[in-house]
Subunit: 260 residues, 2 copies
Protein backbone atom coordinates (compact mmCIF):
# COMPACT_ATOMS: atom_id res chain seq x y z
CA UNK A 1 0.00 0.00 0.00
CA UNK A 2 1.44 3.37 -1.02
CA UNK A 3 1.89 6.15 1.51
CA UNK A 4 -1.02 8.63 1.61
CA UNK A 5 -0.55 12.42 1.53
CA UNK A 6 -3.33 14.25 3.30
CA UNK A 7 -1.88 17.76 3.64
CA UNK A 8 -1.52 20.47 1.01
CA UNK A 9 1.53 21.64 2.98
CA UNK A 10 3.42 18.36 2.46
CA UNK A 11 6.98 19.15 1.22
CA UNK A 12 6.70 16.89 -1.86
CA UNK A 13 3.47 18.60 -2.87
CA UNK A 14 4.91 22.08 -2.42
CA UNK A 15 7.97 21.08 -4.47
CA UNK A 16 5.76 19.72 -7.30
CA UNK A 17 3.68 22.91 -7.34
CA UNK A 18 6.82 25.02 -7.67
CA UNK A 19 7.87 22.90 -10.67
CA UNK A 20 4.46 23.45 -12.22
CA UNK A 21 4.42 27.24 -11.88
CA UNK A 22 8.03 28.32 -12.40
CA UNK A 23 10.13 27.92 -15.55
CA UNK A 24 13.31 29.06 -13.76
CA UNK A 25 12.74 26.56 -10.93
CA UNK A 26 12.10 23.77 -13.47
CA UNK A 27 15.37 24.60 -15.19
CA UNK A 28 17.48 24.78 -12.01
CA UNK A 29 16.01 21.51 -10.71
CA UNK A 30 16.08 19.68 -14.07
CA UNK A 31 12.56 18.38 -13.39
CA UNK A 32 8.97 19.13 -14.42
CA UNK A 33 5.44 18.25 -13.30
CA UNK A 34 2.84 16.82 -15.69
CA UNK A 35 -0.83 16.00 -15.20
CA UNK A 36 -3.06 13.50 -16.97
CA UNK A 37 -4.10 9.83 -16.93
CA UNK A 38 -2.92 9.39 -20.49
CA UNK A 39 -0.15 12.02 -20.55
CA UNK A 40 1.85 10.71 -17.55
CA UNK A 41 2.26 7.13 -18.89
CA UNK A 42 3.04 8.61 -22.34
CA UNK A 43 5.77 10.87 -20.89
CA UNK A 44 7.17 7.97 -18.84
CA UNK A 45 8.10 6.24 -22.12
CA UNK A 46 10.58 9.03 -22.90
CA UNK A 47 11.54 10.66 -19.59
CA UNK A 48 12.44 9.32 -16.15
CA UNK A 49 9.40 9.35 -13.85
CA UNK A 50 10.57 10.02 -10.29
CA UNK A 51 7.35 10.55 -8.36
CA UNK A 52 3.73 9.69 -9.16
CA UNK A 53 0.80 11.25 -7.27
CA UNK A 54 -2.69 9.83 -7.79
CA UNK A 55 -6.14 10.07 -6.26
CA UNK A 56 -8.09 7.00 -5.20
CA UNK A 57 -10.65 7.44 -7.98
CA UNK A 58 -7.94 7.85 -10.66
CA UNK A 59 -6.30 4.56 -9.63
CA UNK A 60 -9.70 2.82 -9.63
CA UNK A 61 -10.31 3.98 -13.24
CA UNK A 62 -6.79 3.24 -14.38
CA UNK A 63 -5.16 0.42 -12.33
CA UNK A 64 -2.25 0.10 -14.81
CA UNK A 65 -0.85 3.30 -13.29
CA UNK A 66 0.52 1.03 -10.54
CA UNK A 67 3.00 -0.43 -13.07
CA UNK A 68 4.70 2.93 -13.68
CA UNK A 69 8.22 3.39 -12.23
CA UNK A 70 9.22 5.79 -9.42
CA UNK A 71 7.86 6.48 -5.94
CA UNK A 72 4.06 6.42 -5.72
CA UNK A 73 1.85 8.44 -3.39
CA UNK A 74 -1.90 8.34 -2.93
CA UNK A 75 -3.17 11.93 -2.45
CA UNK A 76 -6.48 13.21 -1.11
CA UNK A 77 -8.69 15.09 -3.57
CA UNK A 78 -8.02 18.51 -2.05
CA UNK A 79 -4.26 17.86 -2.38
CA UNK A 80 -4.72 16.91 -6.05
CA UNK A 81 -6.64 20.15 -6.58
CA UNK A 82 -3.57 22.04 -5.38
CA UNK A 83 -1.28 20.18 -7.82
CA UNK A 84 -3.54 21.04 -10.79
CA UNK A 85 -2.90 24.26 -12.70
CA UNK A 86 -6.48 24.37 -13.96
CA UNK A 87 -9.80 23.61 -12.30
CA UNK A 88 -10.44 20.27 -13.97
CA UNK A 89 -7.88 17.48 -13.71
CA UNK A 90 -7.76 13.68 -13.87
CA UNK A 91 -6.10 13.05 -10.51
CA UNK A 92 -2.75 11.79 -11.88
CA UNK A 93 0.48 13.82 -11.58
CA UNK A 94 4.10 12.93 -12.22
CA UNK A 95 7.45 14.55 -11.45
CA UNK A 96 9.82 13.77 -14.33
CA UNK A 97 13.53 14.41 -15.03
CA UNK A 98 13.87 16.87 -17.92
CA UNK A 99 15.77 15.31 -20.86
CA UNK A 100 18.75 17.57 -21.71
CA UNK A 101 19.96 18.08 -25.27
CA UNK A 102 22.47 20.50 -26.83
CA UNK A 103 23.34 21.98 -30.23
CA UNK A 104 26.33 19.61 -30.39
CA UNK A 105 23.82 16.79 -31.09
CA UNK A 106 22.60 18.47 -34.30
CA UNK A 107 23.78 16.44 -37.28
CA UNK A 108 24.32 17.08 -40.99
CA UNK A 109 21.46 15.67 -43.06
CA UNK A 110 18.91 15.98 -40.24
CA UNK A 111 15.58 17.80 -40.10
CA UNK A 112 15.11 20.52 -37.48
CA UNK A 113 12.48 23.00 -36.36
CA UNK A 114 13.64 26.26 -34.74
CA UNK A 115 11.26 28.54 -32.84
CA UNK A 116 12.12 32.16 -32.07
CA UNK A 117 10.01 33.78 -29.34
CA UNK A 118 6.89 31.70 -30.05
CA UNK A 119 5.00 32.70 -26.93
CA UNK A 120 1.78 30.75 -27.01
CA UNK A 121 2.13 27.41 -25.15
CA UNK A 122 -0.54 25.87 -27.41
CA UNK A 123 1.46 26.76 -30.53
CA UNK A 124 4.75 25.47 -29.09
CA UNK A 125 3.08 22.21 -28.00
CA UNK A 126 1.31 21.74 -31.35
CA UNK A 127 4.51 22.34 -33.30
CA UNK A 128 6.44 19.81 -31.16
CA UNK A 129 3.69 17.26 -31.91
CA UNK A 130 3.79 17.97 -35.67
CA UNK A 131 7.63 17.83 -35.73
CA UNK A 132 7.57 14.41 -34.04
CA UNK A 133 4.80 13.25 -36.41
CA UNK A 134 6.74 14.19 -39.54
CA UNK A 135 10.06 12.63 -38.58
CA UNK A 136 12.05 15.68 -37.47
CA UNK A 137 15.26 15.11 -35.51
CA UNK A 138 15.00 17.95 -33.03
CA UNK A 139 13.43 21.27 -32.02
CA UNK A 140 15.55 24.31 -31.16
CA UNK A 141 14.03 27.04 -28.97
CA UNK A 142 15.31 30.58 -28.51
CA UNK A 143 14.95 32.69 -25.38
CA UNK A 144 11.43 34.00 -24.99
CA UNK A 145 9.56 30.92 -26.21
CA UNK A 146 6.80 29.41 -24.07
CA UNK A 147 8.32 26.81 -21.74
CA UNK A 148 8.13 23.30 -23.25
CA UNK A 149 7.55 21.82 -19.78
CA UNK A 150 4.80 24.19 -18.62
CA UNK A 151 1.48 22.40 -17.99
CA UNK A 152 -0.30 23.98 -21.00
CA UNK A 153 2.52 23.19 -23.43
CA UNK A 154 2.74 19.60 -22.21
CA UNK A 155 -0.99 19.14 -22.79
CA UNK A 156 -0.82 20.60 -26.32
CA UNK A 157 2.22 18.50 -27.22
CA UNK A 158 0.50 15.27 -26.03
CA UNK A 159 3.80 13.81 -24.86
CA UNK A 160 5.82 14.78 -27.96
CA UNK A 161 8.05 16.92 -25.69
CA UNK A 162 9.95 13.74 -24.75
CA UNK A 163 9.68 11.94 -28.10
CA UNK A 164 11.81 14.46 -29.96
CA UNK A 165 15.00 16.14 -28.64
CA UNK A 166 14.35 19.70 -27.43
CA UNK A 167 17.32 22.06 -27.40
CA UNK A 168 17.18 25.39 -25.52
CA UNK A 169 19.63 27.53 -27.43
CA UNK A 170 19.49 31.16 -26.24
CA UNK A 171 19.86 33.65 -29.11
CA UNK A 172 18.58 32.30 -32.44
CA UNK A 173 21.09 33.90 -34.89
CA UNK A 174 23.99 32.12 -33.11
CA UNK A 175 22.15 28.80 -33.20
CA UNK A 176 21.44 29.24 -36.93
CA UNK A 177 25.13 29.91 -37.56
CA UNK A 178 26.02 26.64 -35.79
CA UNK A 179 23.55 24.72 -37.97
CA UNK A 180 24.83 26.29 -41.18
CA UNK A 181 28.40 25.31 -40.25
CA UNK A 182 27.16 21.73 -40.41
CA UNK A 183 25.78 22.24 -43.93
CA UNK A 184 22.14 22.52 -42.87
CA UNK A 185 19.93 24.76 -45.04
CA UNK A 186 18.07 27.15 -42.71
CA UNK A 187 14.76 28.45 -44.09
CA UNK A 188 13.17 31.47 -42.42
CA UNK A 189 9.37 31.59 -42.57
CA UNK A 190 8.64 35.18 -43.62
CA UNK A 191 5.80 36.87 -45.50
CA UNK A 192 7.91 39.30 -47.52
CA UNK A 193 10.72 38.89 -50.09
CA UNK A 194 10.28 35.13 -49.79
CA UNK A 195 9.90 32.12 -52.05
CA UNK A 196 6.48 30.41 -52.05
CA UNK A 197 6.58 26.99 -50.37
CA UNK A 198 5.07 25.39 -53.48
CA UNK A 199 8.29 26.28 -55.32
CA UNK A 200 10.64 25.05 -52.57
CA UNK A 201 12.52 21.75 -52.83
CA UNK A 202 11.13 19.04 -50.54
CA UNK A 203 14.54 17.96 -49.29
CA UNK A 204 18.10 19.15 -48.92
CA UNK A 205 20.98 16.65 -48.82
CA UNK A 206 22.81 18.58 -46.06
CA UNK A 207 19.69 18.76 -43.91
CA UNK A 208 17.05 21.43 -43.36
CA UNK A 209 15.90 23.64 -40.52
CA UNK A 210 12.52 25.41 -40.62
CA UNK A 211 12.70 28.66 -38.61
CA UNK A 212 9.47 30.17 -37.26
CA UNK A 213 8.97 33.46 -35.41
CA UNK A 214 6.57 34.88 -32.87
CA UNK A 215 2.81 35.12 -33.45
CA UNK A 216 2.73 38.90 -33.62
CA UNK A 217 6.14 40.01 -34.94
CA UNK A 218 7.47 37.03 -36.87
CA UNK A 219 11.24 36.50 -36.99
CA UNK A 220 13.78 39.13 -35.97
CA UNK A 221 15.79 40.74 -38.78
CA UNK A 222 18.99 39.24 -37.34
CA UNK A 223 17.56 35.74 -37.58
CA UNK A 224 16.26 36.22 -41.14
CA UNK A 225 19.73 37.52 -42.11
CA UNK A 226 21.39 34.49 -40.50
CA UNK A 227 19.25 32.02 -42.49
CA UNK A 228 20.05 30.59 -45.93
CA UNK A 229 16.83 31.85 -47.52
CA UNK A 230 13.19 32.62 -46.76
CA UNK A 231 9.99 30.79 -47.52
CA UNK A 232 6.29 31.60 -47.21
CA UNK A 233 3.00 29.76 -47.48
CA UNK A 234 1.11 31.33 -50.40
CA UNK A 235 -2.46 32.37 -49.56
CA UNK A 236 -5.43 34.05 -51.21
CA UNK A 237 -6.16 37.65 -50.19
CA UNK A 238 -9.23 36.51 -48.23
CA UNK A 239 -7.20 36.13 -45.02
CA UNK A 240 -4.37 38.20 -43.57
CA UNK A 241 -2.46 35.38 -41.96
CA UNK A 242 -2.60 31.80 -40.74
CA UNK A 243 -2.40 30.66 -37.13
CA UNK A 244 1.32 30.11 -36.23
CA UNK A 245 0.77 26.46 -35.29
CA UNK A 246 -0.99 25.80 -38.61
CA UNK A 247 1.55 27.63 -40.76
CA UNK A 248 4.45 25.88 -39.03
CA UNK A 249 2.84 22.45 -39.33
CA UNK A 250 2.30 22.91 -43.08
CA UNK A 251 6.01 23.76 -43.46
CA UNK A 252 6.93 20.67 -41.42
CA UNK A 253 4.66 18.53 -43.61
CA UNK A 254 6.39 19.85 -46.75
CA UNK A 255 9.84 18.94 -45.40
CA UNK A 256 8.74 15.61 -43.84
CA UNK A 257 10.77 12.40 -43.71
CA UNK A 258 10.93 10.91 -47.24
CA UNK A 259 9.39 7.58 -46.20
CA UNK A 260 6.10 9.25 -45.19
CA UNK B 1 -23.63 62.35 -31.31
CA UNK B 2 -24.76 58.72 -30.98
CA UNK B 3 -27.31 57.70 -28.38
CA UNK B 4 -25.77 56.38 -25.15
CA UNK B 5 -26.88 53.15 -23.45
CA UNK B 6 -26.38 53.23 -19.69
CA UNK B 7 -28.43 50.23 -18.58
CA UNK B 8 -27.59 46.53 -18.80
CA UNK B 9 -31.36 45.95 -19.05
CA UNK B 10 -31.69 47.90 -22.31
CA UNK B 11 -33.68 45.82 -24.84
CA UNK B 12 -30.99 46.07 -27.56
CA UNK B 13 -28.33 44.87 -25.13
CA UNK B 14 -30.44 41.96 -23.94
CA UNK B 15 -31.15 40.98 -27.55
CA UNK B 16 -27.43 41.07 -28.42
CA UNK B 17 -26.56 38.93 -25.39
CA UNK B 18 -29.10 36.31 -26.45
CA UNK B 19 -27.48 36.21 -29.91
CA UNK B 20 -24.10 35.69 -28.27
CA UNK B 21 -25.12 32.81 -26.04
CA UNK B 22 -27.66 30.82 -28.05
CA UNK B 23 -27.10 29.01 -31.35
CA UNK B 24 -30.83 28.32 -31.80
CA UNK B 25 -31.68 32.00 -31.23
CA UNK B 26 -28.97 33.07 -33.69
CA UNK B 27 -30.45 30.73 -36.29
CA UNK B 28 -34.07 31.80 -35.81
CA UNK B 29 -33.12 35.50 -35.89
CA UNK B 30 -30.62 35.17 -38.76
CA UNK B 31 -28.19 37.38 -36.83
CA UNK B 32 -25.06 37.02 -34.70
CA UNK B 33 -23.00 39.15 -32.30
CA UNK B 34 -19.24 39.61 -32.70
CA UNK B 35 -16.68 41.37 -30.53
CA UNK B 36 -13.37 42.99 -31.39
CA UNK B 37 -11.82 46.22 -32.67
CA UNK B 38 -10.29 44.40 -35.62
CA UNK B 39 -12.86 41.62 -36.01
CA UNK B 40 -15.97 43.83 -36.37
CA UNK B 41 -14.63 45.93 -39.28
CA UNK B 42 -13.31 42.72 -40.86
CA UNK B 43 -16.74 41.04 -40.63
CA UNK B 44 -18.45 44.17 -41.95
CA UNK B 45 -16.63 43.63 -45.27
CA UNK B 46 -18.59 40.39 -45.82
CA UNK B 47 -21.77 40.59 -43.72
CA UNK B 48 -24.34 43.32 -43.14
CA UNK B 49 -23.60 45.21 -39.90
CA UNK B 50 -26.90 46.30 -38.33
CA UNK B 51 -25.89 47.63 -34.94
CA UNK B 52 -22.54 48.71 -33.50
CA UNK B 53 -21.96 49.13 -29.76
CA UNK B 54 -18.74 50.79 -28.59
CA UNK B 55 -17.25 52.19 -25.39
CA UNK B 56 -15.85 55.70 -25.20
CA UNK B 57 -12.27 54.42 -24.85
CA UNK B 58 -12.64 52.05 -27.84
CA UNK B 59 -13.77 54.93 -30.09
CA UNK B 60 -10.89 57.09 -28.83
CA UNK B 61 -8.38 54.38 -29.81
CA UNK B 62 -10.07 53.57 -33.11
CA UNK B 63 -11.96 56.60 -34.52
CA UNK B 64 -12.44 54.89 -37.92
CA UNK B 65 -15.14 52.76 -36.26
CA UNK B 66 -17.42 55.77 -36.87
CA UNK B 67 -17.28 55.04 -40.62
CA UNK B 68 -18.88 51.58 -40.24
CA UNK B 69 -22.49 51.19 -41.44
CA UNK B 70 -25.56 50.51 -39.26
CA UNK B 71 -26.94 52.11 -36.10
CA UNK B 72 -24.28 53.15 -33.60
CA UNK B 73 -24.62 53.24 -29.81
CA UNK B 74 -22.13 54.41 -27.21
CA UNK B 75 -22.29 52.03 -24.21
CA UNK B 76 -20.99 52.46 -20.68
CA UNK B 77 -18.20 50.10 -19.60
CA UNK B 78 -20.43 47.96 -17.37
CA UNK B 79 -22.83 47.47 -20.30
CA UNK B 80 -19.91 46.39 -22.52
CA UNK B 81 -18.87 43.90 -19.83
CA UNK B 82 -22.31 42.31 -20.13
CA UNK B 83 -22.00 42.00 -23.93
CA UNK B 84 -18.64 40.22 -23.66
CA UNK B 85 -18.57 36.43 -23.39
CA UNK B 86 -15.13 36.48 -21.75
CA UNK B 87 -13.60 38.74 -19.10
CA UNK B 88 -11.33 40.72 -21.41
CA UNK B 89 -12.79 42.56 -24.38
CA UNK B 90 -11.96 45.54 -26.59
CA UNK B 91 -15.20 47.48 -26.16
CA UNK B 92 -16.50 47.02 -29.74
CA UNK B 93 -19.50 44.80 -30.55
CA UNK B 94 -21.54 44.34 -33.71
CA UNK B 95 -24.86 42.68 -34.55
CA UNK B 96 -24.57 41.25 -38.08
CA UNK B 97 -26.98 39.51 -40.48
CA UNK B 98 -25.90 35.90 -40.97
CA UNK B 99 -25.06 35.17 -44.63
CA UNK B 100 -27.19 32.21 -45.79
CA UNK B 101 -25.92 29.62 -48.25
CA UNK B 102 -27.28 26.26 -49.43
CA UNK B 103 -26.06 23.05 -51.04
CA UNK B 104 -27.63 24.21 -54.33
CA UNK B 105 -24.72 26.70 -54.62
CA UNK B 106 -22.14 23.90 -54.72
CA UNK B 107 -20.66 23.71 -58.20
CA UNK B 108 -18.80 21.09 -60.23
CA UNK B 109 -15.07 21.77 -60.30
CA UNK B 110 -15.06 23.57 -56.95
CA UNK B 111 -13.11 22.93 -53.75
CA UNK B 112 -15.05 22.21 -50.55
CA UNK B 113 -14.38 21.38 -46.92
CA UNK B 114 -16.98 19.32 -45.03
CA UNK B 115 -16.96 19.02 -41.23
CA UNK B 116 -18.89 16.30 -39.43
CA UNK B 117 -19.44 16.89 -35.70
CA UNK B 118 -16.25 18.91 -35.21
CA UNK B 119 -17.08 20.17 -31.75
CA UNK B 120 -14.22 22.45 -30.77
CA UNK B 121 -14.93 26.09 -31.74
CA UNK B 122 -11.19 26.72 -32.11
CA UNK B 123 -10.85 23.89 -34.63
CA UNK B 124 -13.92 24.97 -36.64
CA UNK B 125 -12.66 28.58 -36.72
CA UNK B 126 -9.11 27.59 -37.67
CA UNK B 127 -10.34 25.33 -40.49
CA UNK B 128 -12.56 28.11 -41.90
CA UNK B 129 -9.53 30.40 -41.92
CA UNK B 130 -7.34 27.80 -43.66
CA UNK B 131 -10.07 27.02 -46.23
CA UNK B 132 -10.36 30.72 -47.09
CA UNK B 133 -6.56 31.04 -47.24
CA UNK B 134 -6.17 28.16 -49.70
CA UNK B 135 -8.89 29.19 -52.14
CA UNK B 136 -11.74 26.86 -51.17
CA UNK B 137 -15.23 27.65 -52.45
CA UNK B 138 -17.26 26.70 -49.40
CA UNK B 139 -17.47 24.90 -46.06
CA UNK B 140 -20.25 22.40 -45.33
CA UNK B 141 -21.15 21.69 -41.68
CA UNK B 142 -23.18 18.76 -40.34
CA UNK B 143 -25.38 18.79 -37.27
CA UNK B 144 -23.33 18.71 -34.08
CA UNK B 145 -20.50 21.00 -35.22
CA UNK B 146 -19.51 23.98 -33.08
CA UNK B 147 -21.54 27.01 -34.17
CA UNK B 148 -19.67 29.11 -36.75
CA UNK B 149 -21.16 32.30 -35.28
CA UNK B 150 -20.40 31.60 -31.61
CA UNK B 151 -17.98 34.14 -30.10
CA UNK B 152 -15.08 31.65 -29.74
CA UNK B 153 -15.41 30.37 -33.32
CA UNK B 154 -15.57 33.90 -34.72
CA UNK B 155 -12.37 34.81 -32.89
CA UNK B 156 -10.54 31.68 -34.15
CA UNK B 157 -11.73 32.25 -37.72
CA UNK B 158 -10.52 35.88 -37.71
CA UNK B 159 -13.38 36.95 -39.96
CA UNK B 160 -13.08 34.05 -42.43
CA UNK B 161 -16.65 33.03 -41.47
CA UNK B 162 -17.95 35.70 -43.87
CA UNK B 163 -15.18 35.44 -46.51
CA UNK B 164 -16.12 31.90 -47.54
CA UNK B 165 -19.67 30.52 -47.97
CA UNK B 166 -20.75 28.42 -44.97
CA UNK B 167 -23.48 25.84 -45.60
CA UNK B 168 -25.31 24.17 -42.69
CA UNK B 169 -26.36 20.84 -44.18
CA UNK B 170 -27.80 18.57 -41.48
CA UNK B 171 -26.80 14.92 -41.96
CA UNK B 172 -23.42 14.53 -43.69
CA UNK B 173 -24.03 11.36 -45.79
CA UNK B 174 -26.92 13.10 -47.62
CA UNK B 175 -24.79 16.16 -48.29
CA UNK B 176 -21.95 13.98 -49.64
CA UNK B 177 -24.43 12.26 -52.00
CA UNK B 178 -25.49 15.69 -53.34
CA UNK B 179 -21.85 16.64 -53.97
CA UNK B 180 -21.08 13.36 -55.71
CA UNK B 181 -24.08 13.85 -58.03
CA UNK B 182 -22.26 16.98 -59.24
CA UNK B 183 -19.12 14.97 -60.03
CA UNK B 184 -17.18 16.13 -56.94
CA UNK B 185 -14.66 13.64 -55.53
CA UNK B 186 -15.32 13.35 -51.77
CA UNK B 187 -12.29 12.29 -49.73
CA UNK B 188 -12.87 11.09 -46.17
CA UNK B 189 -10.01 11.77 -43.74
CA UNK B 190 -9.60 8.43 -41.93
CA UNK B 191 -6.69 6.67 -40.25
CA UNK B 192 -7.48 3.15 -41.40
CA UNK B 193 -7.78 1.49 -44.82
CA UNK B 194 -6.85 4.80 -46.40
CA UNK B 195 -4.45 6.11 -49.01
CA UNK B 196 -1.56 8.29 -47.75
CA UNK B 197 -1.95 11.96 -48.71
CA UNK B 198 1.53 11.94 -50.30
CA UNK B 199 0.13 9.51 -52.92
CA UNK B 200 -3.10 11.47 -53.57
CA UNK B 201 -3.59 13.62 -56.66
CA UNK B 202 -3.43 17.35 -55.96
CA UNK B 203 -6.51 18.14 -58.04
CA UNK B 204 -9.61 16.56 -59.50
CA UNK B 205 -11.25 18.00 -62.64
CA UNK B 206 -14.78 17.49 -61.23
CA UNK B 207 -13.89 19.17 -57.96
CA UNK B 208 -12.88 17.90 -54.55
CA UNK B 209 -14.36 17.86 -51.05
CA UNK B 210 -12.20 17.12 -47.99
CA UNK B 211 -14.33 15.52 -45.27
CA UNK B 212 -13.17 15.73 -41.64
CA UNK B 213 -14.72 14.13 -38.55
CA UNK B 214 -14.89 14.87 -34.85
CA UNK B 215 -11.81 15.22 -32.65
CA UNK B 216 -12.45 12.05 -30.66
CA UNK B 217 -14.35 9.69 -32.96
CA UNK B 218 -13.45 10.77 -36.49
CA UNK B 219 -16.03 10.31 -39.24
CA UNK B 220 -19.12 8.13 -38.89
CA UNK B 221 -19.15 4.87 -40.86
CA UNK B 222 -22.10 6.15 -42.92
CA UNK B 223 -20.13 9.21 -44.02
CA UNK B 224 -17.00 7.19 -44.89
CA UNK B 225 -19.20 4.85 -46.95
CA UNK B 226 -20.79 7.82 -48.75
CA UNK B 227 -17.41 9.25 -49.80
CA UNK B 228 -15.48 8.39 -52.98
CA UNK B 229 -12.37 7.22 -51.11
CA UNK B 230 -10.35 7.81 -47.95
CA UNK B 231 -7.12 9.61 -47.30
CA UNK B 232 -4.79 9.94 -44.32
CA UNK B 233 -1.78 12.03 -43.35
CA UNK B 234 1.12 9.62 -42.90
CA UNK B 235 2.98 10.00 -39.60
CA UNK B 236 5.85 8.39 -37.68
CA UNK B 237 4.91 6.18 -34.74
CA UNK B 238 6.17 8.84 -32.31
CA UNK B 239 2.70 10.42 -32.04
CA UNK B 240 -0.76 8.88 -31.96
CA UNK B 241 -2.56 11.62 -33.82
CA UNK B 242 -2.45 15.22 -34.95
CA UNK B 243 -4.67 18.04 -33.72
CA UNK B 244 -7.84 18.14 -35.90
CA UNK B 245 -7.23 21.75 -36.98
CA UNK B 246 -3.67 20.90 -38.03
CA UNK B 247 -4.54 17.70 -39.86
CA UNK B 248 -7.41 19.40 -41.70
CA UNK B 249 -5.27 22.39 -42.68
CA UNK B 250 -2.57 20.14 -44.15
CA UNK B 251 -5.25 18.42 -46.27
CA UNK B 252 -6.55 21.84 -47.40
CA UNK B 253 -3.01 22.91 -48.30
CA UNK B 254 -2.56 19.76 -50.41
CA UNK B 255 -5.76 20.47 -52.39
CA UNK B 256 -5.20 24.26 -52.60
CA UNK B 257 -6.07 26.49 -55.54
CA UNK B 258 -3.59 25.79 -58.36
CA UNK B 259 -2.41 29.41 -58.62
CA UNK B 260 -1.01 29.34 -55.07
Amino acid sequence: MDEKITSRENAKIKYACRLSSGAAFRRSEGRFLAEGRKLCPELARGAQLETLFYTESAMAKCPELADLPGEHYLVEDHVADKLADVGTHQGVFGVFRTPVHGLDEVKTGGRYLALERVQDPGNVGTLLRSAAAFGFDGVILSDGCASVYAPKTLRASMGAAVRIPVIEAGAMPDAIARLREKGITCLAAALYKSQPLSAAQASYPGGVCVVIGSEGQGLTDATIAACTSTVRIPMTDRVESLNAGIAGSILLWHFREESL
